[in-house]
């Protein structure tokens, strides 16, 4: 590119040529070109990720009208509110139980898909991954309709078994169950795909050796499959923990935090307080509480990834 642009300028004065050659050489230098190629990425991340992240730290120290510095006043206020502790509790229940069930279901389903003859695996994988492909906002609407208080298709089906109408989103505990169920439905296929890829990379000889040594199926999973998949399981789980902990769409659409704020998690409550309640500093403080857990998960992921890099 640089070559073509500079050609017409070669004819005039020699001094100019030399100076341009300096620029030319700089452009030819590997590090300069590389830096220019990454510049848009750096600018994007600096302007729309790093700056807002630091800005939210600043915002969290302001009062509601954002005119006065109040230090940790917002946090003091939060610690005194029962709703805040409810949100902390629900966020942990939601994220941990959803991730555990996603990981378990993903692991089990991956094994079943792996058992099926190779030429049929594609079809099953295709069907089972559909929940992950549909935009979560759209599929949660379908769940909302399945859970509808008066026309619930689930309650219609359950009534044949004599199970009374279940208040899927009306009762606090059922609503907690429902948001977790929808999240598991949405996230389990991701685990399934990751585990399936990991299962396929386990050498067949290991299983043969285990079978010769007389290992039963449980021992084969415990001593061969799990150690071989350890890394993928760790990364996938930590990654999913971050995404689930920061979830917004599902809770927002399914319950909007209700009944009585019992299903609010950090993201939905920050939205309620910060955007709907237009108390931006308080909302920023609420979402900052996600940082410690995200940071811990991120550190572990990085450690695992660099370990993989060293092994390879």
């Amino acid at each position: 590119m640089a070559d073509v642009a500079l050609h017409p300028n070669r004819v005039p004065a020699t001094k100019a040529t030399r100076r341009r050659n300096g620029l030319h050489n700089a452009l030819r230098r590997k590090s300069t070109v590389a830096f220019l190629m990454t510049l848009p990425l750096i600018l994007l991340v600096a302007a729309f990720v790093i700056y807002p992240a630091l800005y939210s730290l600043h915002l969290a120290t302001l009062n509601k009208s954002m005119t006065k510095f109040i230090g940790l006043g917002n946090f003091e206020f939060l610690f005194k509110r029962d709703t805040f502790w409810l949100v902390v509790k629900q966020s942990c229940i939601f994220a941990i139980s959803a991730v555990i069930f996603k990981a378990l279901i993903g692991f089990i389903v991956a094994h079943f898909v792996h058992n099926v003859p190779a030429n049929k695996q594609r079809r099953w994988r295709g069907m089972l991954l559909v929940p992950w492909v549909i935009p979560p906002a759209m599929s949660t609407l379908a769940w909302l309709w399945l859970f509808d208080p008066s026309y619930s298709a689930f309650n219609y089906t359950l009534s044949f078994f004599g199970i009374g109408p279940i208040p899927w989103t009306g009762d606090a505990n059922w609503a907690r169950f429902s948001v977790i169920l929808v999240n598991v439905w949405y996230g389990a296929p991701f685990f399934m795909i990751m585990y399936l890829a990991a299962l396929k990379s386990v050498p067949e000889q290991l299983y043969e050796a285990a079978a010769i040594d007389g290992a039963n199926w449980w021992q084969r999973i415990w001593y061969v499959t799990l150690p071989m998949m350890r890394n993928i399981i760790a990364i996938t789980t930590l990654f999913s923990l971050i995404v689930t902990f920061a979830n917004f769409d599902i809770v927002r659409i399914l319950t909007a935090g209700g009944p009585l704020d019992h299903t609010h998690i950090f993201a939905t409550w920050a939205f309620r307080v910060g955007i709907e309640g237009s108390d931006i500093p308080l909302g920023a403080s609420v979402s900052l509480f996600m940082v410690p857990i995200l940071a811990v998960a991120a550190i572990f992921i990085l450690r695992d990834i660099s370990k993989r890099g060293n092994e390879a």
């Binding site: 590997k30 590090s31 990454t38 729309f48 898909v113 099926v116 917004f248």
Partner: protein
């Protein structure tokens, strides 16, 4: 005599054992199919229920007949939505935002990934790690400061960004670029060094190496990254919910939720039709390019 009996016993025992293993396998297979069918039902119930409801008239829905069956299929919901200017507006907003964001994402992340994978420079390893870390920062952490930032930019410069669909063009790349860069680094790093060394020796510039060698060779990765960027921009819900409010600026997911749900009156037939139409583009892409989709999904964690 003894040798003969041994000879006879050998094969029979062998046959018997094979039989039991294959019987075990057959049972394992049957159980696998059984559970796979159960899980497939679990996975496909919501989308199928969307389809069922979208074919019902509102009279049939409120009559509370068997919810799993359509007695009088009708396309009135589809006709209603596809002739409504508002809905088409949402659809076009979504389509434009997604297409432009995919283009921006590719223009930023492909050169960056190339530089980070091949042209070692001061801080390139740190930057690659930083890109991955950025990918881990969720949208829910940044929407409040970003909202305030755009309000302030509007106040200072007079450029109205809040409640304009194009504000999403600045924000969505923060979700797509880090991941796309990350998986492209993986794909580029897997290309043999000899290939680009040969190109450089033949006098190709870095730019030519990228466009003539790397992009064609890493095309599957490029397709996977494109699909990912499109899916993420199409599905994003939080940012448009926060940054856009008037009905002509909304994208599809937010549009369906804010306009079709009017107070306590839920027009479920139309909502399900809208949801299904909103889910259609990613589903269609997925149906045709499933292998790329899965490659992109697994590349994020297995390469690196």
């Amino acid at each position: 005599m003894s040798t003969i009996t041994i000879d006879k016993a050998g094969p029979t025992r062998k046959v018997k054992k094979y039989g039991s293993i294959s019987r075990d396998r057959a049972w394992a297979l049957r159980w696998s199919y059984f559970f796979l069918v159960l899980f497939a039902i679990f996975s496909l119930t919501p989308p199928l229920y969307m389809l069922i409801t979208s074919l019902k008239s509102s009279a049939e829905i409120s009559a509370a007949t068997n919810p799993w069956w359509v007695y009088h299929p009708t396309l009135e919901n589809y006709i209603g939505l596809l002739t409504s200017n508002q809905f088409l507006r949402f659809f076009w907003n979504s389509a434009w935002v997604s297409i432009i964001v995919v283009t921006i994402t590719m223009l930023i992340s492909v050169p960056a990934a190339f530089a980070l994978a091949r042209m070692k420079f001061w801080g390139s390893a740190t930057l690659a790690t930083g890109v991955f870390l950025t990918y881990l920062i969720p949208d829910t952490l940044l929407f409040i400061p970003l909202f305030k930032m755009f309000v302030l930019i509007g106040d200072w410069t007079g450029i109205q960004l809040i409640n304009r669909w194009y504000v999403l063009l600045f924000i969505y790349p923060t979700l797509t670029v880090p991941f796309c860069t990350w998986i492209m680094i993986g794909y580029f790093a897997s290309i043999p060094k000899e290939l680009d060394e040969a190109a450089i020796i033949d006098g190709a510039s870095w730019f030519q190496t990228l466009t003539r060698i790397f992009i064609p060779v890493a095309l599957p990765g490029l397709i996977a990254a494109t699909i990912f960027a499109f899916t993420v921009s199409w599905a994003q819900f939080l940012y448009p919910l926060v940054f856009t409010t008037s009905t002509d600026q909304l994208v599809l997911p937010v549009g369906i939720i804010t306009t079709l749900i009017k107070g306590d009156v839920f027009n479920w037939g139309q909502i399900m039709t809208g949801a299904l139409l909103g889910a259609a583009p990613p589903l269609i892409i997925y149906a045709f390019l499933m292998d790329y989709y899965i490659a992109g999904l697994t590349a994020g964690a297995t390469k690196g």
